[in-house]
């Protein structure tokens, strides 16, 4: 059950993401491109890290498309994302099942209003994905510990695409690949695509980004309603 945390790890990984310019709900096919040289990649990582350190708060809308194998049906979800440095974030999904994921430090909550249920978990319970859970709290290069990373950019105006593939078999049994697209102007992530070993595909785009605007701490406060079922996995 602890590896439920993996799911939330992915969510926090996305807390590094910001926006996209177009509404897309299809699985993105990556264009063919030449891989960036290591020196160029290192320089880019340094610039991304500089940008990351300037982020105090971030709010955005997101659109998610998910393909669940073997049903091969696309599921769509939209919602809002909020981040406040150094380690608070929320993901609020709207749609048929209203779910909010709240992360505060090492503690996570999945609040499912449809099921009237709250799951509580500790991020550190799965150290393999700690680096992902840390999100903006850690340098972007920390994401790459267990992955081979290749960076592509088709043209000067195209997004930087970080293509991650797992290094070890344990991780390969879970994830096939992970792509993060960074906007070349803002240097903030604008979308991601996760392909799991199961074949499931998740694509998320961000838009309506508001960067470093005042964000009340109350956004990250949550009191479990007395009627809700609490499942504590810590």
């Amino acid at each position: 059950m602890k590896k439920l945390v993996y799911i939330f790890a992915l969510s926090i990984m996305m807390s590094a993401l910001s926006y996209c310019q177009t509404e897309q709900d299809v699985i993105v096919e990556e264009p063919a491109a030449t891989a960036m040289a290591d020196t160029e990649k290192d320089a880019l990582l340094a610039r991304l890290e500089e940008t990351r350190q300037t982020v105090v708060s971030l709010e955005a809308r997101f659109q998610q498309t998910k393909v669940v194998m073997p049903f091969s049906e696309k599921e769509y979800a939209t919602g809002s994302f909020r981040y406040k440095a150094p380690d608070k974030s929320t993901w609020s999904f709207s749609g048929s099942e209203k779910t909010t994921v709240l992360i505060k430090g090492n503690r996570g909550f999945i609040i499912n209003d449809t099921l009237a249920q709250v799951q509580i978990f500790e991020i550190d319970t799965n150290s393999r994905f700690d680096f992902i859970m840390a999100g903006l709290a850690r340098p972007i290069s920390a994401f790459f510990t267990d992955f081979d990373v290749v960076v592509f950019q088709d043209t000067d105006t195209a997004p930087y695409r970080f293509h991650l593939t797992p290094k070890n078999d344990d991780l390969k049994a879970i994830v096939s690949s992970f792509d993060i697209m960074f906007d070349p102007q803002s240097l903030l992530p604008q979308s991601f695509k996760l392909i799991e070993a199961s074949g499931d595909i998740t694509v998320m785009f961000f838009d309506e980004v508001r960067l470093n605007e005042p964000l009340d701490d109350a956004v990250f406060e949550y009191k479990v309603p007395p009627t809700y079922e609490v499942i504590d996995y810590r």
């Binding site: 059950m1 590896k3 439920l4 993996y6 799911i7 939330f8 992915l10 969510s11 996305m14 998910k66 393909v67 669940v68 194998m69 073997p70 049903f71 049906e73 599921e75 979800a77 993901w91 999904f93 048929s96 099942e97 779910t99 994921v101 999945i110 499912n112 449809t114 099921l115 249920q117 078999d169 344990d170 390969k172 049994a173 879970i174 996760l194 799991e196 070993a197 199961s198 074949g199 499931d200 595909i201 998740t202 079922e229 499942i231 504590d232």
Partner: protein, 279 residues
């Protein structure tokens, strides 16, 4: 006077049918000629009424919210998730639990012979024979596919009672149907159906073993009806006594008797995923 006799006889029969056994044991109903005279319908009429009121499917596809709990699997808390479900006779099942981020966290396949309990976030798949009870090998979710299939795909009434004897009684607004199977010189209560006497919708199914032990208790509620006016439950609670497995389903987007590709009931193990065979 005649009515009093009927009532008293009915009460006596009801007592014989339901009250004498231990809580989890059901004795073979004692039947007298009086019972036959109490029947308001012929068997054929009864079957027709129940069949007209309750949807039975060869295939079923639905989205579902699901809760799983089993003390045998050392679960002290229920596991809950949203999922996608497909079932098909004979004995095929696919059930995927999904999460808000990422895709599937639990994927169960039963192809009619083998089961596969795949945990994508763990990178592991448990396999075994479909009818085996999954309470060994450290499987975190004690889900036996045949239990789910029995609950979700009840037999049509004609097939359910074929070659068997049926008895029934009224208790208030409830109609109880006993289905008794005979083999050799012995008989045993195989299934007890509880129906709403007004609508003839089945609200509870209790399934017993040959030695009178209750195996499965399936309770349903909050029905929806299709174009044919037959009811399908929105909510289902399943309790399997041997494994102490409790399942709860809340169904949405239900489609019945649709074509389901066989690939849906075929599991292909992804590369690098560890396989654990349950003995």
């Amino acid at each position: 006077m005649f009515n009093r006799v009927l009532i008293i006889t009915g009460c006596l029969i009801a007592l014989c049918l339901s009250g004498c056994a231990a809580p989890r044991r059901q004795g073979i109903p004692v039947v007298s000629d009086q019972l036959l005279r109490l029947k308001p319908y012929s068997n054929e009429e009864l079957i027709a009424r129940i069949s007209d009121a309750n949807a039975v499917a060869d295939t079923l596809r639905a989205d579902t919210a699901m809760s799983i709990q089993s003390s045998w699997a050392d679960q002290d808390k229920p596991f809950k998730c949203s999922g996608k479900l497909a079932v098909s006779v004979p004995g095929k099942l696919r059930l995927a639990c999904t999460v808000p981020f990422g895709g599937t966290m639990m994927d169960i396949t039963a192809d009619g012979e083998q089961f596969y309990l795949y945990l994508p976030k763990e990178g592991i798949v448990y396999t075994g024979y479909q009818g085996d009870y999954l309470h060994s090998a450290g499987i975190p979710y004690n889900l036996t596919p045949d239990v789910i299939l029995t609950a979700l795909l009840p037999q049509p009434m004609e097939a359910l009672i074929a070659g068997k004897t049926i008895y029934y009684e009224y208790i208030g607004e409830t109609f109880i149907l006993y289905i008794v199977r005979s083999y050799g010189m012995q008989s045993y209560l195989e299934e007890k159906l509880t129906l709403d006497a007004l609508t003839m919708r089945i609200t509870q199914r209790e399934i017993f073993s040959r030695d009178g032990i209750k195996v499965l208790d399936i309770t349903v509620s909050e029905f929806v009806t299709g174009d044919d006016n037959k009811a399908f439950p929105k909510k289902m609670r399943v309790y399997h006594y041997m494994t102490q497995l409790q399942l709860e389903f809340v169904f949405q987007k239900v489609s019945m008797n649709i074509d389901l590709n066989d690939a849906l009931f075929t599991f292909t193990k992804p590369e690098h995923v560890k396989e654990v065979r349950v003995q």
